[in-house]
């Protein structure tokens, strides 16, 4: 595949296997630009990323001496001022692409050889088509998050996260206003679009992504504003309804907007909204210990109560200090204080009704939820997400260790509180959300054979202000997020961690993250941490972090060879452009809508 390169603008001067210097006549450089180095012979095309550059003049070593000369000799000038001005560009050798003869595609490889002496250098931004071909295998293929950024120019080259990377967790870091929310909404829009495409094309569930999204500022439903445009999930949902019930059902839970109560929800959102209610019985002690610090005494007391009471929270709430003698005085009061956010919350109810099974069921069939936590305390928010994560992990663990439905049931009963287990297993007569149809493949005698996990959608749990529960102070004992971070890949459960503060995150979590999107960061410490933690080597990117503007990020992924600079989509515009797809996906995909199956007449 031949490449159309622009006019060369420089010549390779010196360098080693990671760092190059190039002398260029074109002085309009920007940090972060990508240059293409074309050796005089051979089939490798090298790529070089500008990290820094300096002004130089041809025929001169010491610019300071020149400046001093100017100062002293006012009548001096620079002959050939335009052609003598050069820049010496310093930067990283990203690697090279080589044309694969079989696939006729350019395959990117990490640098293992140097471009030869005085190779010609071309500007990537001047030949975006060539750059696209060279980086084809690096830019990803599933969920669009933005476009390739070259300096301050954004190329029309979408950068995507691959679904297979999601269970290895994604970390998004950036200071306030850096573009985290824009990223989140772009990500979810892209995920919803992906799910519709897979649904319509009847592809495997493993290519679909269920997202349980936390909406701290209650902004994703209505959307984020940019200039005069504002589009959000409500617009996508409205558009999808027009595409028909089956399309809507394939990506959204019936009521996908979860909130504490409906009184604060606007009329147009009411149709998607549901007040989230969780039985106290569904909670386990580890849900509490995962999000708050407790003493051994308190843990012992809670565990003891949980063994004897299904609704152990209420039991503790009602217990008086005087009745318990086996624990140090004050333990019960302290536990009660810890449980206040639950006992005082309208979410965690004493009655028998719970939305948990429905949420789990819908997530397991590839649906999206938006959990508005604007009116919730952070503890309430964290307990809900912890409990949901634990429940999902438990059932997928059970699935992994079962081949038959009966085995699976046993496993679930062992791992989950009884009521929620029976609902999910269809043993409760009032349960409408049995996992049986989702989890079983076919009948095997009187039993059912289980599906394997890779036949289920990838689950993404977003965790906002991640250091609050995944910080270095977090309890590591029985913490479900530690388990997910280590084993999420096995169970196809990923976390999308959003933080302003990478340096405060728990190292185990960071070490298990394979995709990072680092937006504008607050200070040197965060930049250093981002560089240390990145899944690609981004040493030397310090300068670039310092010049990142809003919405600009460095995207790293351990399955890719190179870090990519990304301009996160202008989300209102992105959604606006995608709405016609959501309204009419069959037409956009050029797929004929299958007719409703009619039952064959009995002859």
């Amino acid at each position: 595949m031949s490449l159309q390169l622009s006019e060369p603008i420089g010549v390779l001067a010196e360098g080693d296997i990671s760092f190059l210097k190039i002398v260029c006549s074109d002085i309009r450089f920007e940090i972060g630009e990508i240059l293409i180095i074309k050796p005089p012979t051979g089939k490798k095309m090298y790529m070089f990323r500008i990290m820094n550059y300096e002004n130089i003049l041809r025929n001169i070593q010491d610019l300071s001496a020149i400046a001093a000369n100017f100062l002293k000799n006012r009548e001096a000038y620079i002959a050939r001022v335009e052609s003598e001005k050069l820049v010496k560009v310093h930067g990283l050798l990203m690697g090279y692409s080589e044309l694969d003869a079989d696939s006729n595609k350019w395959i990117f490889k990490k640098p293992r050889s140097l471009p030869p002496h005085f190779s010609a250098v071309h500007r990537g931004a001047d030949c975006p088509e060539a750059l696209e071909l060279l980086l084809e295998k690096e830019i990803g293929q599933d969920l669009e998050i933005g476009k390739l950024l070259i300096g301050t120019k954004t190329l029309d080259l979408p950068i995507k996260i691959d679904i297979e990377s999601l269970p290895m967790h994604v970390q998004v870091a950036g200071t306030t206003g850096a573009g985290k929310s824009f990223f989140m909404l772009t990500f979810i829009t892209s995920a919803l679009k992906n799910n519709i495409v897979r649904f319509i094309k009847q592809e495997e569930m493993k290519k679909r992504v269920s997202v349980f999204m936390i909406d701290v500022h209650d902004e994703y439903m209505r959307g984020l504003r940019h200039e005069d445009k504002r589009y959000g999930l409500i617009d996508i949902a409205d558009a999808t309804i027009k595409a028909g019930n089956e399309v809507y059902d394939s990506i959204f839970a019936d009521k996908f907007y979860l909130t504490r109560d409906l009184s604060g929800v606007s009329k147009e959102m009411q149709k998607y909204a549901q007040p989230i209610r969780i039985r106290r019985e569904d909670l386990s002690v580890s849900d509490i210990t995962s999000v708050m610090t407790v003493t051994d005494q308190m843990l012992g007391y809670m565990s003891m109560k949980a063994v004897t009471n299904e609704d152990w929270v209420t039991a503790i709430e009602k217990e008086s200090e005087a009745e318990v003698t086996s624990f140090v005085k004050g333990t019960i009061s302290a536990v009660k204080r810890r449980l206040y956010p639950i006992t005082r919350s309208s979410i965690f109810t004493e009655n028998k009704y719970s939305d948990l099974a429905e949420i789990v069921y819908n997530i397991e069939r590839g649906c999206f939820y938006n959990f508005s936590t604007a009116l919730l305390s952070s503890t309430e928010q964290f307990i809900v997400i912890t409990m949901l994560a634990r429940t999902l992990l438990s059932i997928r663990q059970s699935l992994l260790s079962s081949t038959k439905w009966s085995q699976f049931k046993d496993q679930v009963y062992q791992r989950l509180p009884k009521t929620i287990a029976s609902e999910l297993l269809g043993d409760n007569p009032s349960s409408k959300f049995s996992l049986k149809e989702l989890y079983t493949a076919d009948k095997d005698g009187s039993d059912y054979r289980m599906k394997t996990i890779d036949k289920l959608p990838v689950i993404m749990l977003t965790i906002e202000e991640a250091p609050s529960i995944l910080g270095s102070q977090m309890s590591k004992e029985g913490n479900v997020f530690i388990d997910i971070s280590r084993q999420g890949r096995k169970f196809n459960i990923g976390m999308l961690l959003i933080t302003q503060n990478i340096s405060s995150m728990e190292h185990i979590i960071l070490a298990n993250t394979n995709t990072e999107l680092n937006l504008m960061l607050g200070n040197e410490i965060e930049i250093r941490q981002a560089i240390i933690n990145a899944s690609n080597n981004i040493a030397g990117y310090e300068h670039e972090f310092k010049v990142l503007s809003r919405g600009e990020a460095i995207f790293t992924n351990s399955l890719r060879n190179i870090p990519l600079p990304v301009k996160v989509s202008n989300v209102p515009l992105y959604i606006e452009n995608e709405l016609p797809f959501f309204t009419n996906p069959y037409q956009k995909l050029n797929v004929k809508k299958a007719r409703e199956k009619t039952k064959a007449p009995i002859l």
Binding site: L57, N59, I60, I66, N69, F70, N73, R74, E75, A76, Y77, I78, A79, R80, V81, E82, S83
Partner: protein, 440 residues
């Protein structure tokens, strides 16, 4: 050497310094007289502003370099010759210049040319034949043709004032020239002017660097010739060096082949209204450092001035310091001293005599001074690039583009040896015997 670090050397320093002061003292009287002359005749001038309204023009400069005896094998020497040029258009209004996109056909690369020659220097006839073909190849004319043309011109200038009513004879051969020369009283060194090989080489040709220098001059003049013949019209062509000619005492005819090329170049430049400016940085002009110091004391270090050196050939008084330097000013040249500032050594500027007579000289001293002033203001402006403040930037650029560093010389030599090895020669034979014996 240990002796460098003990006091023996200091005694030597003292002895040398004493001699140095003696030189100054001995020549002091003559020097003071000359200094008075120079003071009376020098012109202090105000430079052009950096940005000004002035008619723009093109300018170029040529410099040569190379590597003498790149490799040696007994009596066989391989020399590397290079010449580079820089060409610019002034942009007075912007206070800068613009590089001209000129590439004369002789160039082997955008900034100049490179040649390799192989000589058996003890075989003078063979070397001479090589030299002639080298001139033909690079200068694009037979040396004979050039010599005949230049001599014809010399004779013409003698003939016409003597016989103003005669038509100058049509000179087609050396016999025609010989006849006309006798009539005009122009003494030719040889009656058969084309029997070159006996005399038209440098007396130093057989010495180390002798041939190398002469070939190098051919390369430089050839590049200048090619630039002059290009489509670009240059107002100034700067050459590195002087317009010195080698003349035997009492003769008017230059000796060296390269002198003829230089004369030819000057003549062609005159016809093209181009001024050849030869610039010497390290001049053999005696006591020029003293002149600078004394005049700076009087005028101030930052004053710019120039002064023309009187010429014996033009019946002007000879500076006493120059009594033993008949080549200053050169026989067919006019020499100026040009002071830029105290930071920069005084430069010796040689112009072609004929160009000078046509473009500067005037019976009216005021007019002549005005023309000189314009010339020096322009060339002063061309020496104000911040990188080479006080020197002509195009000469500096040309120098940079052509100079062969020791490292580059070694690389080329190595490549050359490798090439020979690839052809089946033993590379060891090129390694200097001293190096092979471990003595360097």
């Amino acid at each position: 050497m240990q002796v460098f670090f003990d006091e023996t050397i200091e005694n030597e320093f003292a002895r040398v310094y004493k001699r140095f002061k003696k030189f100054e003292l001995e020549s002091d009287e003559a020097y003071q007289d000359d200094l008075d002359y120079l003071k009376r005749n020098l012109v202090v001038f105000e430079p052009l502003p950096t940005k000004c309204q002035h008619e723009n023009f093109n300018v170029t400069a040529i410099d040569g370099s190379g590597a003498d005896s790149l490799v040696m094998l007994n009596d066989i020497a391989i020399h590397l010759l290079t010449a580079g040029f820089a060409a610019d258009k002034t942009c007075f209004e912007d206070g800068t210049t613009e590089q001209l996109n000129t590439r004369p056909p002789i160039c082997t690369h955008p900034e100049g040319l490179m040649r390799l020659i192989i000589l058996r220097e003890d075989k003078s006839k063979e070397v001479w034949e090589e030299f002639l073909s080298f001139i033909k190849y690079n200068y694009n004319e037979e040396l004979e043709t050039v010599v005949l043309r230049v001599l014809r011109d010399f004779v013409y200038h003698k003939y016409v004032p003597k016989f103003p009513n005669d038509t100058f004879p049509d000179i087609k051969s050396s016999i025609d020239l010989h006849k006309a020369a006798i009539k005009a009283g122009f003494k030719l060194h040889k009656s058969d002017i084309f029997d070159f090989s006996e005399w038209m080489v440098s007396p130093r040709a057989a010495a180390v660097q002798g041939w190398f220098e002469q070939f190098r001059e051919v390369v430089e003049y050839s590049l200048a010739h090619s630039l002059l013949n290009s489509d670009t019209k240059f107002k100034y062509i700067f050459l590195d060096g002087s317009l010195n000619m080698l003349l035997s005492p009492g003769q008017e005819q230059p000796r060296l082949a390269s002198n003829y090329l230089l004369r030819d170049l000057c003549k062609k430049s005159l016809n093209k209204e181009t001024c050849i400016v030869a610039v010497s940085k390290t001049t053999t002009f005696p006591f020029v450092y003293r002149i600078a110091q004394d005049l700076e004391k009087e005028l101030g270090g930052e004053k710019k001035w120039f002064v023309r050196i009187p010429s014996k050939q033009r019946k002007e008084p000879t500076l006493k310091m120059l009594e033993n330097r008949p080549h200053i000013p050169p026989y067919y040249g006019v020499t100026y001293l040009y002071h830029f500032s105290s930071e920069v050594p005084i430069l010796r500027i040689d112009l072609d005599y004929e160009w000078y007579m046509k473009n500067i000289f005037s019976e009216n001293t005021k007019i002549q001074k005005a023309k000189e002033l314009e010339l020096f203001q322009e060339i002063d402006w061309l020496s104000r690039d911040v990188r080479y403040f006080g020197y002509f930037f195009d000469l500096a650029f040309a120098h940079n583009s052509t100079v062969v560093s020791f490292a580059e010389r070694d690389v080329v030599a190595e490549q050359l040896i490798n090439y020979f090895a690839e052809q089946g020669e033993n590379p060891k034979m090129f390694i200097h015997p001293r190096r092979r014996l471990g003595l360097m």
